[in-house]
């Protein structure tokens, strides 16, 4: 009576191990991988259906801010070009706004500060699982794009950064819904002070309804594009290209 039970039990444990290993086999099958990766589009579709276009990410009070805001990813681009910009306190830094726009722009920090600015205390969620709450200040990306005369044909906005990965700059991209979202800002200040190097000086993107890796730091260029094909490996961002992170990082 007892013996068959034990053999069944070990069969069960062994079965679970095989099933786990089976998952690693399954994802090697292109069709299965495609179905699994379609989860991203389903989640994005659900979010877009359940969210108002302008639905705001939660904002917090100063008392609710993290005592220490962890930095992550590149903590210092450390390239000669970046060091030169740091040396003269980003006086020569210019943000190029181009692509599908009628009036390409070249904006200095003073230009960005002169625009109507928005301050928001929001939560930064890393894909790894941690969260930090901080205050960000900067002009709305939507206003910058409007000033540049972004064209109807633009479907994505691509951000190119000063930090290099394997010789190529970090880049990210978002769609026009997030680009024109009121909390999507080009932050030049954090917690009331000019942005420091670990957090993306002189300017980083804040796209508050998505995870941290979308919030491109050390911004150099913004391009409105019709398609992500031909940029990097075409998946819309450095981590998306390199390790299959989701392009839609709302979850």
């Amino acid at each position: 009576m007892i013996r068959p039970d034990f053999s069944r039990r070990s069969l069960l444990a062994g079965g679970a191990g095989l099933l786990l290993a089976g998952c690693d086999r399954v994802i090697q099958i292109p069709a299965a991988r495609k179905i699994l990766f379609a989860g991203e589009d389903m989640q994005r579709g659900l979010h877009r259906a359940l969210q108002n276009r302008g639905a705001l990410a939660p904002e917090f009070t100063p008392a609710q801010m993290s005592p220490v805001f962890r930095s992550n990813g590149t903590r210092d681009p450390n390239t000669p070009a970046y060091k030169a910009m740091v040396a003269n306190r980003f006086a020569d830094w210019r943000l190029a706004v181009g692509g599908l726009v009628d009036r390409p722009l070249s904006l200095s920090l003073a230009d960005l500060r002169a625009l109507p600015n928005r301050s928001q205390i929001t939560r930064h969620d890393c894909v790894e699982g941690w969260s930090a709450i901080g205050q960000w200040t900067g002009p709305m990306l939507g206003n910058v794009l409007k000033a540049a005369g972004v064209r109807e044909s633009a479907r994505y906005v691509v951000f190119t950064c000063a930090d290099l990965y394997g010789g190529a700059p970090y880049y990210e991209s978002i769609d026009m819904i997030d680009a024109f979202h009121p909390q999507t800002i080009l932050a030049w200040a954090m917690n009331g002070r000019p942005l420091d190097i670990p957090h993306g000086a002189p300017v980083r993107l804040r796209v508050e309804r998505q995870l941290g890796y979308k919030h491109a730091k050390y911004l150099m260029r913004i391009d409105a594009v019709a398609s992500l094909d031909g940029i990097g490996k075409g998946k819309g961002g450095f981590w998306e290209d390199t390790v299959d992170y989701d392009w839609y990082a709302g979850i």
């Binding site: 998952c23 379609a38 979010h47 005592p67 969260s131 309804r209 299959d244």
Partner: protein, 241 residues
């Protein structure tokens, strides 16, 4: 149903209809989902194995629990890969959520909940609970007079899993999504912040994992062949006394 009224005492050895179609389909879909979600969830946990209470929480903040690094044999994928763990997790999160929703609607329509999960006052008396506990110790998991019915501990554990653990693991999962936090900010208010939600998410996953282990052990003790068949064809043989 007409041929087998619920209150008829089925003699030991006879085959009776035990599980409805909705229950059986959902059971297996959900079994796959739970398996994948637990494995991929442990892989995701390895990316930042610290749990916090409150709205924020990162390395400089106080963690109430430092989790172990989960070994390769228990994570999906086996080798650490946060992106692929997330792909598995976020796809099967939809299977879990919508599967549960469909099962619940189906179980209201086919009266599974009312017929099988309604607690009777007599079942909750101390005497009945004690008698059923002793019956469990004797490896007897059904009432010979009502062999089709779930026993009281089965009912209570299914109720807790269906109406507390699974809804809470889904709700806390939703709270982890910055996109859903914008869509449904009340979720964070209910749960007391994203990092609290993450802690509760992990606790619910642990309880669901423990439930699954106990469930599998009891299936074996009750007779795996009979139990598994009843969850495939719906037919269950009343055990001999």
């Amino acid at each position: 149903m007409v041929t087998e009224p619920v209150d008829d005492i089925a003699a030991p050895g006879t085959l009776i209809r035990r599980h409805g179609l909705v229950t059986r389909i959902w059971h297996w879909v959900n079994a796959v989902a739970i398996f994948v979600l637990l494995g991929s969830g442990l892989g995701i946990s390895n990316a930042h194995p610290r749990l916090y209470w409150g709205r924020y929480g990162a390395n400089f903040d106080h963690a109430w629990l430092q989790l172990p690094r989960f070994p390769a044999w228990i994570t999906i994928p086996a080798s650490y890969n946060l992106a692929i763990s997330r792909r598995w997790h976020l796809f099967f999160a939809l299977v879990l959520g919508f599967g549960l929703l469909a099962y619940m609607i189906g179980s209201l329509l086919n009266r599974h909940f009312r017929r099988d999960l309604t607690l009777r006052r007599t079942e909750l008396t101390r005497r009945h609970l004690w008698a059923d506990f002793r019956a469990h110790l004797n490896f007897r998991f059904h009432d010979p007079e009502r062999p089709r019915d779930y026993n009281i501990f089965q009912k209570l554990s299914y109720i807790v899993v269906l109406f507390v653990m699974l809804p809470l693991v889904i709700l806390t999962g939703i709270a982890l999504s910055p996109g859903m936090d914008a869509a449904w900010p009340w979720v964070l208010d209910v749960l007391g912040g994203r990092q609290s939600a993450r802690s509760v998410h992990f606790m619910m996953a642990t309880l669901i994992g423990l439930f699954t282990i106990v469930h599998l052990v009891l299936v074996i003790l009750a007779g795996a062949g009979n139990e598994v068949r009843s969850m495939i064809t719906g037919r269950w043989r009343v055990p001999a006394e």
